[in-house]
Amino acid sequence: MLAYLLKRIVLMVPTLLLVALMVFLLVHFIPGDPAIVMVGGDATPEALEQVRRSLGLDQPQPVQFVTWFGHVVTGDLGRSIGTGIPVFETICERFPTTFVLTTLAMLFSVALAVPSGVLAAKFRNTGKDYLFMLVSLLGVSLPGFWLGLMALLVFSVQLGWFPSSGYVPIWQDPIAGLRYMTLPSITLGFFMAAVVARMTRSSMLEVMRLEYVTHARAKGLTEWSVLLKHALKNAFAPTLTTIGIQYGMLLGGAVVTETVFGLPGLGRFVVTAIYSRDYPAVQGCILFIALVYMFVNLAVDVLYKAFDPRVKY
């Protein structure tokens, strides 16, 4: 087990190198020049040249990459061109908000999706099943920003249940923080819930055809025990993989939600950084998110054995 973990962590290094290279290339392929963003469009060519030199942008791109990556390896993500603050510091400050948002979204969606998937499977091909699947189809299809705006309009503006703007970190005041986080995490979690519900339903249906489910019924168990103990534990393993993949997508989807709800998360910072061609900030943040995603995947693979004991590491 320990050897497996070590192996997986070592294997992350080449993946990270690849991600770093791709992020670097993508960012540098975007037309635009951070120097112009910094000094303004009407600056003299000499001033621009000086700024470029001070940022190292006059070097050939392979040299720039090696210099940047060299610093990354030693734990230095560089300073943001826009704010002048070390990128790592900004990540430490902003990632907790994004993490809380995505984790709450995930918890909400699992709490909604797994029971819906089980119920849809139990009532397969009846009105109830179709209703569940229709709602989940809506969940997949509705764009996050629209859903967020509608949630704000109904629950904050009309009903006044939740604050419509502002933010208190959940670790400073859990109750108030949760109130600010409720709508964003439900909005973000709804999309994921739709996907997870469909996965739960189909893997439940897959498992319910198997002989050990008939065997469980033949033991004299109630239908609910059969479904919730014998079928769900087996059906949850593929669902868990979906949840892991979806969690990674949530980290990306958080950008829109954070913007709509005005949350000071990492996603919104990345978007601003992209607009201002803040190379070190974009590269550093995306690399960090990739690393988080890799650890989520590792956690899923380790958890998998709890649901499927046949897995060997």
């Binding site: 002989e211 008939t214 033949a218 033991k219 168990l221 046949r310």
Partner: protein, 330 residues
């Protein structure tokens, strides 16, 4: 005294888009206390469906549409779902064909055996565990204590089937439904597992309804034999009657289709393996007369029009074949 099981004109149909598939067209037979009855026939003749019907666990879209199932004089068809649950696993238990997939891969052997006890008996976990270990010992599973914490995939097929047998007999049921319990096993362990099952069932006075297509197994263990074809019982009798005086052309065909090994030094001329011509009729479109008529070498006038009833050929022997009408009337 009531028989353990009495199936009376049971009909189980599957309502599909292409029509009604009569998985069990009409089936009647009885099983006495402690008796071993083998139900034989080709795949799809309704053997397994008969067993699932007894537990009232016919899978969707199948449904029992007629007939009665009596267990110790009680009509199971009149039972509520919760009364049926009290029957399943306690008074009637079932062993499935594939021990690879009939035990839940996500739970330990111990978890599944303890659950089986505690569904029906108010006992502590420790007590249930001890009972399970004692039962594993009775089915000769090596190192039963250690196996309790093992997952099904850590056991061989033969061991898994022993676990299934242990679970099925844990509560001394009146009836064990065994659906081809040895078919998926290595030939070398088939006999051992079968022997263990029969011995353990005899010890607890459990009757067995054994579903199989292996006539060698039948000749070894059966007290009585029920031969099924296309959802109907075509012949039933004691094992001796079926093997020495088979009355239905289908039964005769089955017996002739057993390959025989030329053993010994005097290698006589090898007999070509008998093959029954034709195909099993579609269950959605059964012929109006005898279902076996299209394949029957001895079919005559009434066979394709009128369904033969079971003609009694003795106190225990009956065949649903027009050949025996006069014999039965005599």
């Amino acid at each position: 005294m009531y028989p353990v099981l009495k199936i009376d004109n049971l009909q189980t149909h599957f309502h599909t888009r292409t029509g009604v598939a009569k998985a069990i067209d009409v089936v009647s037979f009885e099983i006495g206390k402690g008796e071993i009855v083998c139900v034989v026939g080709e795949s799809g003749c309704g053997k397994s469906m008969t067993a699932l019907s007894v537990l009232r666990l016919v899978p969707h879209p199948g449904r029992i549409v007629g007939g009665e199932i009596w267990l110790d004089g009680e009509n199971l068809m009149a039972f509520s779902e919760s009364e049926m649950r009290a029957v399943r696993g306690d008074r009637v238990s079932m062993i499935f064909q594939e021990p690879m997939v009939s035990l839940n891969p996500a739970f330990t052997i111990g978890n599944q055996l303890i659950e089986a006890v505690r569904i029906h008996r108010r006992v502590s976990r420790t007590e249930a565990r001890e009972r399970a270990i004692a039962m594993l010992r009775r089915v000769e599973l090596p190192a039963p204590e250690a196996r309790m914490d093992a997952y099904p995939h850590e056991l061989s097929g033969g061991m898994r089937q022993r676990v299934m047998i242990a679970e099925a007999l844990l509560l001394d049921p009146a009836l064990l439904l065994a659906d081809e319990p040895t078919t998926a096993l290595d030939v070398t362990v088939q006999a051992q597992v079968l022997e263990v099952m029969v011995r353990a069932a005899r010890e607890s006075g459990t009757a067995i309804m054994m579903i199989t297509h292996n006539l060698a197994v039948v000749s070894e263990i059966a007290d009585r034999v029920v031969v099924m074809y296309a959802g109907r019982v075509v012949e039933q009798g004691t094992a001796e009657e079926i093997f020495t005086r088979p009355a239905h052309p289908y039964t005769r065909g089955l017996l002739r289709a057993i390959p025989s090994l030329p053993l010994g030094d005097d290698d006589g001329p090898r007999q070509p393996l008998y093959e029954m011509g034709g195909l099993v009729p579609s269950l959605t479109d059964l012929p109006p007369g005898c279902a076996f008529c299209p394949r029957c070498p001895e079919a005559f006038a009434p066979c394709d029009r009128e369904r033969p009833p079971g003609f009694a050929l003795g106190s225990t022997h009956a065949a649903a074949c027009w050949l025996h009408r006069q014999e039965a009337e005599r």
